[in-house]
């Protein structure tokens, strides 16, 4: 186990290096003058003469490997460059956008786990009942719906028709209130901050804005979570020990909470963990639809505007989430099921 972990942890930086090279290589197919903007540190630098200087300074007219090494040494010093789409340095942009994405991800993953668990187990137990059929139909239905369709439909129904669940993170009044100085930002999580500040208006407002995108994420993601819970619970139910427990006279609740729930944790962690990483890496599409100022919409914006530094920073951050998340999932497997050993 230890050996496996050490090997895994040793491989993460190597894989990360590979990822950074692949992303760097793909981006470097762009013309040199566009690339040079990625090396600027403020907006003011970007005159024609400055771009020529930047090209010289960072060897942009040299071979790809040399450029990569010069970029790498710059990155290792903590300088990720200046993001022209966010109008601030990449590190600042990440600091600004990451809490918004985390808030959205956490806010939507908890109901997915709770409700998905409940519905999946219930429909497995009442197999072929009407309840099961409805759950199965709905989960197939929403599973087949692309995330942008879900997002658009939810925005259309709740914002276009009913006028609630507005896009963006907070309304104009709240933004004015936040920037007025009477509101201190501690964590960047609007809900937590408003509770600390004891400000009900901000709390209500940010909740109303949070509900739309998290409903969209919930609908799309819980479908797959319900499916996996249901099918793995069904598999467990067919096993001999469950029959024994039933024969022993244990009731439904006891079998579920003491036995089934523990035994289906592995597939749930696989799917749930993967979905959570995906959420953290900015549900690019949902954030774009709801104008949510998170990592994902920043990434799309920097792709539109060919903001090289922003695009690099965004994709590296997401890949880092993927790598670390997968490691955490691997470790969780062992904690949940001691039979699993990586030898």
């Amino acid at each position: 186990m230890k050996k496996y972990l050490i090997k895994k942890i040793f491989f993460i930086p190597l894989t990360f290096l590979g990822i950074s090279f692949i992303i760097f290589f793909s981006i470097n197919m762009l013309p040199t003058s566009i690339l040079a903007t990625g090396y600027a540190s403020t907006d003011k630098e970007l005159t024609k003469k400055d771009i020529e200087e930047l090209i010289k300074k960072y060897d942009l007219d040299k071979g790809i490997l040399k450029r990569y090494i010069s970029w790498l040494s710059k990155t290792f010093c903590g300088d990720l460059g200046y993001s022209t789409s966010a109008k601030m340095s990449v590190t600042d942009a990440i600091k600004l956008y990451l809490p918004a994405t985390c808030e959205l991800a956490l806010f939507s993953i908890i109901p997915i786990f709770l409700i998905g668990n409940f519905l999946g187990l219930k429909s497995a137990f009442k197999r072929n009942s009407y309840f099961d059929k409805i759950v199965k139909f709905l989960s197939t239905f929403f599973y087949s719906m692309p995330s942008f369709v879900i997002g658009i439909v939810i925005l259309y129904v709740f914002y276009g028709i009913f006028g609630i669940f507005k896009p963006q993170r907070y309304s104009l009044e709240t933004e004015i209130l936040i920037s007025s100085g009477n509101f201190t930002i501690y964590t960047g999580f609007m809900i937590l901050d408003s509770i600390i500040n004891l400000n009900l208006q901000v709390l209500f407002d940010s909740l109303m804005h949070l509900l739309g995108p998290s409903l969209a994420i919930f609908v799309g993601t819980s479908a797959i979570f319900i499916k996996i819970t249901r099918s793995s619970a069904l598999e467990e139910l067919n096993k001999d020990y469950v029959r024994m427990l039933k024969a022993k006279g244990l009731d439904y609740n006891c079998i579920v909470s003491k036995h089934i729930r523990k035994n289906i944790l592995i597939p749930q962690i696989t799917i749930g963990g993967f979905q959570f990483i995906r959420l953290l890496s900015g549900v690019v599409i949902i954030e774009t639809i709801f104008d949510w100022p998170g990592i994902g919409s920043w990434g799309v914006k920097s792709a539109w505007q060919l903001d090289i530094a922003g695009l690099m920073g965004f994709s590296l951050l997401i890949s880092a989430f993927f790598l670390i998340g997968n490691l955490v999932i691997d470790i969780l497997y062992v904690i949940v099921d001691p039979r699993i050993r990586y030898d």
């Binding site: 190597l14 894989t15 590979g18 990822i19 692949i22 992303i23 793909s26 981006i27 197919m29 762009l30 197939t140 239905f141 599973y143 087949s144 719906m145 692309p146 995330s147 942008f148 369709v149 658009i152 439909v153 925005l155 259309y156 914002y159 276009g160 028709i161 099918s231 793995s232 069904l234 598999e235 067919n238 995906r278 890496s281 690019v284 599409i285 774009t288 639809i289 990434g299 799309v300 792709a303 539109w304 060919l306 695009l311 965004f314 994709s315 997401i318 890949s319 993927f322 790598l323 997968n326």
Partner: protein, 289 residues
């Protein structure tokens, strides 16, 4: 194989799935007859009825109505079906060829080559496919061929890994070893023994992947990175409808068709493939039902 198809068609939901897929195939084939090409040199450019900004409701002249800038939704949907098949089938074929070649080499020879290739696929698979495809598509600029290339770049590693594991399973079976001892050369063994016995999982995976490729491609166009402006692409038409979410309060449904029609087109496409895919899984893994 025929047995297998019979098994699949015995299930009601997968029958429905097949029916949906068949409808889309027919729609893609007859596209030039039911929606006459607008621009002769490139039929995928959507017919435009004037240049007014506001969408028009469905009527007899415009069957599904028009969306922003008077793009005909009916035309866009019909040719969008064809475009979806064009993109997805080319991606699936190209990436399964790459996957079979690289996965085959890697699985058959093993050793250093295997290590390098598998680390390479590891690296690509640890970047979310939407993000990597987005970067490549942005760098290449808009265009159908560019989308196909960008998606292929992120799509082949999973095929390579799958085919490699199949090759690993088969290459040590007795008949392959016997053929080796009898003096068959590597290429012949590969073609004669390994390929026919390990290609089926790849074919099945590829045919079910068509919906996923369409999803990725239309997500790219939805984000404004995929097809050029005015192309018959489901994602792009849905992206246009984003501007018509808010309608006047007296008539809340006046622009509903711009959202509902393209959404349901893409939804049923994915649904068809998912229904068939589910029954595939049931057959392969009969424990779970």
């Amino acid at each position: 194989m025929i047995d297998f198809l019979k098994k699949i068609l015995s299930n009601r939901s997968s029958k429905f799935g097949f029916f949906i897929i068949l409808l889309y195939v027919v729609l893609a084939i007859v596209a030039p007859f039911i929606a006459l090409p607008y621009k002769e040199y490139d039929p995928y450019i959507v017919r435009q009825h004037g240049f007014e900004v506001e969408p028009k409701k469905p009527s007899l002249t415009y069957l599904f109505g028009t969306t922003q800038n008077q793009y005909d939704i009916f035309y866009a949907m019909i040719w969008g079906t064809r475009l979806a098949f064009k993109i997805s089938i080319s991606v699936v074929i190209i990436s399964s060829i790459i996957g079979v070649v690289l996965g085959g080499i890697s699985g058959y020879y093993g050793g250093f080559v295997d290590e390098i290739l598998m680390r390479f696929t590891d690296v690509i698979l640890s970047v979310p496919s939407l993000v990597l495809a987005m970067i490549i598509a942005v760098v290449l600029g808009p265009g159908i061929d560019n989308i196909i290339f960008a998606i292929c770049c992120v799509w082949w590693p999973s095929y390579a890994r799958m085919f490699r594991s199949e090759v690993l399973r088969i290459k040590n079976l007795n008949y392959v070893l016997y053929s080796k001892i009898s003096g068959g050369n590597t290429f012949w063994i590969f073609k004669r023994h390994i390929l026919p016995n390990s290609i089926y999982p790849v074919i099945i995976m590829a045919s079910l992947d068509i919906a996923n490729v369409v999803l990725l491609a239309s997500s790219l166009s939805f984000l404004g990175i995929g097809s050029p402006q005015g192309y018959a692409d489901w994602g792009q038409i849905i992206a246009m409808s984003r501007n018509w979410i808010m309608s006047s309060f007296s008539q809340p449904f006046s622009y509903a068709h711009t959202v509902i029609i393209p959404s349901s087109f893409i939804f049923f496409f994915v649904l068809g493939f998912n229904l068939v895919g589910e029954s595939f899984r049931d057959i392969f893994d009969p424990k779970i039902k």
